[in-house]
């Protein structure tokens, strides 16, 4: 379901409420509803699948500990993403300098063979876009991911990142300018309806 659909947040809040009431299976429903999107977002911050997995696990453990906070959040989806963001940033901060991700290396998000295998269609343009996103500063890349892939408004992204909506919008514009330059070469290969 598209997160921009209000029913999506309602389902998240409902699962959180059921979890609070003792229904452990609600954890599975919450995972099935959100994990793919959260992993995709976490990977945009960590650039590594395993770190994104750790971030998702950390977030789910936090939710399991206090599901009422998610159930009562004004914007449950934004709240959930924010928890994942905090976990992902903690993981990134813990990395030793020598473990820093090199966007050109085979360990990277876009070029990692196992990751590419998980992409439904191994299109060159997909890999190019992801690689271009990875080259952006993390704070710009996450705004693009949340705006375009998660369908969030600037106001909602501001809730997630703790920045003002204007700052978020500026980052988005800067990011698009950079992406436009990076992706110019493949633009002609893509057809638009």
């Amino acid at each position: 379901m598209d997160p921009s659909n209000p029913a999506f947040s309602v389902q998240i809040a409902t699962a959180a409420r059921e979890l609070k009431q003792g229904d452990l299976a609600a954890l599975g429903r919450l995972y099935d509803l959100t994990a793919g999107r959260l992993m995709r977002y976490a990977e945009s911050l960590t650039h590594q699948f395993t770190d994104a997995e750790d971030a998702l696990q950390g977030a789910m453990v936090r939710i399991a500990g206090r599901p009422e906070l998610l159930a009562q959040a004004d914007l449950p989806w934004a709240y959930f993403i924010r928890i994942v963001r905090n976990e992902a940033l903690k993981i990134v901060a813990r990395r030793k300098p020598e473990q820093a991700v090199d966007v050109q290396s085979a360990e990277g998000w876009a070029s990692q063979e196992s990751t590419v295998e998980r992409i439904a269609e191994h299109e060159e343009s997909v890999a190019s876009v992801r690689k271009a996103l990875q080259r952006l500063p993390a704070e710009q890349a996450e705004v693009v991911v949340l705006k375009i892939w998660e369908g969030m408004t600037f106001a909602e992204i501001a809730v997630v990142t703790g920045e003002s909506a204007n700052t978020v919008a500026s980052r988005y514009r800067y990011a698009l300018q950079k992406l436009s330059r990076s992706l110019e070469s493949i633009a002609g290969e893509v057809t638009y309806d």
Binding site: L19, G22, L24, L27, G28, Y31, A35, G36, R37, M39, R40, E53, L56, Q57, M60, V61, I63, A64, G65, R66, P67, T115, R118, I119, A120, E121, S125, V126, S128, V129, R130, L133, V144, V145, I148, W149, L176, L179, S180, L183, E184, I186, A187, V190, Y192
Partner: protein, 136 residues
């Protein structure tokens, strides 16, 4: 490339890949365990609250001493709330025995107050309290 074209291009690259089964198991196992631990902590804490509330009730009535009340499992919501705050420090030791903590977290008084007691149970409690008072 227009902004709209660019956004479409990026959107097309955002397909959600299926996650490995192992990820689901790992994440849910960790979260489920955390939930169970949290539930056990809450149950221990609730039992401690009941003991504390009992203690408040009975000690304030002058009907028993601390060692006697740790096994009691009845609480009078309406009575306990009014008696809780003044004697709270004296019961840190009870929490320590029952929940492994000598702290009274914020909201303890609210939690005690939320522990519902039916009118029937309250009536029985009052009767028992009366009997204890008569004995003493």
């Amino acid at each position: 490339m227009t902004e709209q074209q660019l956004e479409l291009l990026i959107a097309e690259a955002g397909s959600l890949p299926p996650l490995p089964v192992g990820t689901r198991w790992r994440v849910l196992h960790a979260a489920g365990e955390a939930r169970m631990q949290q539930r056990e902590r809450r149950q221990r804490y609730r039992r401690a609250l009941i003991a504390v509330a009992c203690a408040v009730l009975l000690l304030a009535a002058g009907t028993c001493e601390l060692p006697e009340i740790t096994s009691l499992r009845t609480i009078g919501r309406r009575c306990a709330l009014s008696l809780y705050r003044p004697v709270e420090p004296a019961f840190a030791v009870l929490l320590s025995q029952n929940a492994g903590s000598s702290d009274f977290p914020e909201g303890t008084d609210k939690a005690v107050g939320e522990y519902e007691l039916s009118d029937d149970s309250l009536h029985r409690l009052k009767e028992r309290q009366q009997r204890l008072m008569n004995v003493h």
